[in-house]
């Protein structure tokens, strides 16, 4: 058997443990197919498959640690199983996959809820942190052109928490029930150029973020009574970026 066929076959058998046709696309003759069918039934393969699955679950769990900590055991396990059954969790740099996993979880949480807020918080932290390692302040002179288009930064986010974060942390640590949702959310802005990755934004900054729900020109944003200084600050810290 050629090396590439052996590796692809073994790799797919492990990656696609729930698939009815895990050897799809692998160029195997009858004897080689029989080899993999036999291999799959060995204790060694089954052990390796169980290790692979537990590592995939472990990686995914670490990438969404806080969010999963808030969920009941059954729900947490169901989310992890669904994610790994779809072939995810294999990447050794698990935070590269963390954003996708947190998106996957967020689609399944009630809006609004503490669980969703923490999920968005964790995702925003990961996103800003990923952006921070190569963030550089852009040329600000583009802001003098009112036709220049702006959009939300790829590594930025606005997150609403419906209770003091310390109470959320306490609930995670003690497994006590979560406090009720506050009617006055605490808003946090995440940007890769901020020293601590997030801060409490001003009303003007929130207005810019909301106005950029879709890309808009510098002129349009300034017409909302936003000061050029605020716009420059948001651009510098990566909360917003040029769209062209």
């Amino acid at each position: 058997m050629a090396l590439i066929e052996f590796q692809t076959g073994l790799g797919q058998l492990l990656r696609e443990q729930k698939s009815s046709d895990p050897l799809h696309g692998v160029n195997l003759d009858t004897n080689e197919k029989r080899y993999f069918e036999t291999l799959r039934e060995t204790a060694g393969f089954r052990f390796c498959a169980s290790i692979q699955r537990s590592w995939c679950i472990g990686r995914a769990a670490r990438s969404a640690y806080f969010t999963l900590s808030l969920l009941p055991d059954e729900e947490r396990q169901a989310l992890l199983n669904e994610w790994v059954d779809a072939g995810a969790g294999t990447r050794s740099f698990f935070d590269a996959e963390g954003e996708s996993f947190l998106s996957f979880i967020s689609e399944r949480l009630t809006d609004p809820s503490h669980e969703l807020s923490v999920c968005q918080f964790e995702q925003a932290t990961l996103r800003a942190s990923n952006g921070a390692s190569f963030h550089a302040s852009p040329d600000l002179t583009g802001l003098v052109n009112p036709e220049r288009n702006l959009r939300r930064g790829k590594h930025a986010a606005l997150v609403c928490l419906y209770v003091d974060p310390s109470l959320l942390l306490e609930s995670m640590q003690t497994r006590k029930p979560l406090p009720p949702l506050s009617s006055e959310p605490i808003v946090l802005m995440f940007s890769p150029g901020l020293p601590q990755l997030c801060n409490a934004p001003s009303e003007e900054e929130i207005a810019v973020w909301e106005a950029l729900d879709a890309p808009a020109s510098v002129g349009t944003i300034l017409s909302l009574n936003v000061s050029p200084k605020t716009l420059a600050g948001l651009l510098r810290q990566g909360t917003i970026e040029y769209a062209d």
């Binding site: 790799g11 052990f47 050794s92 190569f134």
Partner: protein, 272 residues
């Protein structure tokens, strides 16, 4: 008690992108912390992400990262695991399997790894070592000329300038799980090629002894070290491996005990 440090560079890196556009970036603050922690001790690299045996391609992003790493923090030698952990997807993108897998003892596998080892030697200008892996498969495709896992190590080291990182715990795992005598296996190894030795702990799981790096070194592995050391004329160091998440549980006193145990055996054979 520590004469040199072994660094896995991926632990201070972040990956960006997916599939064919992946980059592995060194995080400067973690690099600085690692250098401070190592306090000027000699340093060797022990990578996990190269996937030197992947037939479709090795991990170019890892090597680009290591190029940059070497410029910032030169290393005395460089080692990797003999195996593969990526395959090619239907669209040609690289897919990670999620666990490291062994190379089959075949001529094709030996030639591929030997040629890549030579390329690494030229690229970094320091010794390059391959580690014998632990694995749980009893029936890998084989060429009779290669003579199994140990024969594969001979073929690679004889076919290149590559040297060997003899992982005694991996050998111990395979000896238990595949039912052979680890001391006889040591005698069959290319011992002249050994530059470094690993010892570690493991644990039972589902009827297999697992290379878990989760605790103390089994007494039998210490005996294997005592047996192997007089037979490896070029060995330059022994490393006790323990995963970060198990270090706190094991505790500093137990870790110090393991290091002392290793030194005692080392000194008995190498002090002169």
């Amino acid at each position: 008690m520590v004469a040199f440090v072994e660094v896995t560079p991926e632990t201070i890196c972040r990956q960006r992108g997916t599939g064919t556009t992946t980059e592995i970036e060194i995080l400067p603050d973690l690099m600085e912390l690692a250098q401070q922690t190592c306090g000027g001790l000699p340093m060797v690299i022990h990578g996990v992400e190269l996937s030197i045996g992947s037939a479709h391609s090795w991990n170019d992003a890892y090597l680009r990262m290591l190029d940059s790493f070497q410029k910032s923090w030169p290393f005395v030698w460089h080692s990797e695991h003999l195996g593969f952990q990526t395959i090619s997807g239907d669209d040609g993108a690289t897919l990670e399997v999620g666990v490291p897998l062994p190379m089959p003892p075949t001529k094709e596998a030996a030639a591929l790894v030997a040629s890549r080892s030579d390329a690494i030697l030229r690229r970094y200008g320091v010794p390059f070592l391959l580690e014998n892996p632990a694995h749980y498969f009893s029936d890998l495709p084989t060429d009779p000329e290669i003579e199994g896992d140990i024969g594969l190590l001979h073929s690679i080291t004889e076919g290149s300038g590559c040297r060997l990182l003899l992982d005694l715990h991996n050998l111990y795992c395979n000896a238990i799980n595949h039912n052979f005598d680890p001391f006889k296996a040591i005698d069959r190894m290319p011992l002249d090629m050994v530059i470094e030795i690993h010892v570690a702990g493991g644990s039972w799981r589902d009827g297999f002894w697992m290379d878990a790096h989760d605790g103390r070194v089994p007494e039998r592995v210490w005996e294997m070290l005592d047996y192997a050391l007089p037979k490896v004329p070029h060995v330059a160091g022994v490393v006790f491996e323990l995963l970060e998440e198990h270090a706190v549980g094991l505790g500093p006193e137990a870790i110090a005990d393991e290091l002392k145990h290793g030194w005692k055996i080392w000194n008995a054979h190498r002090a002169a």
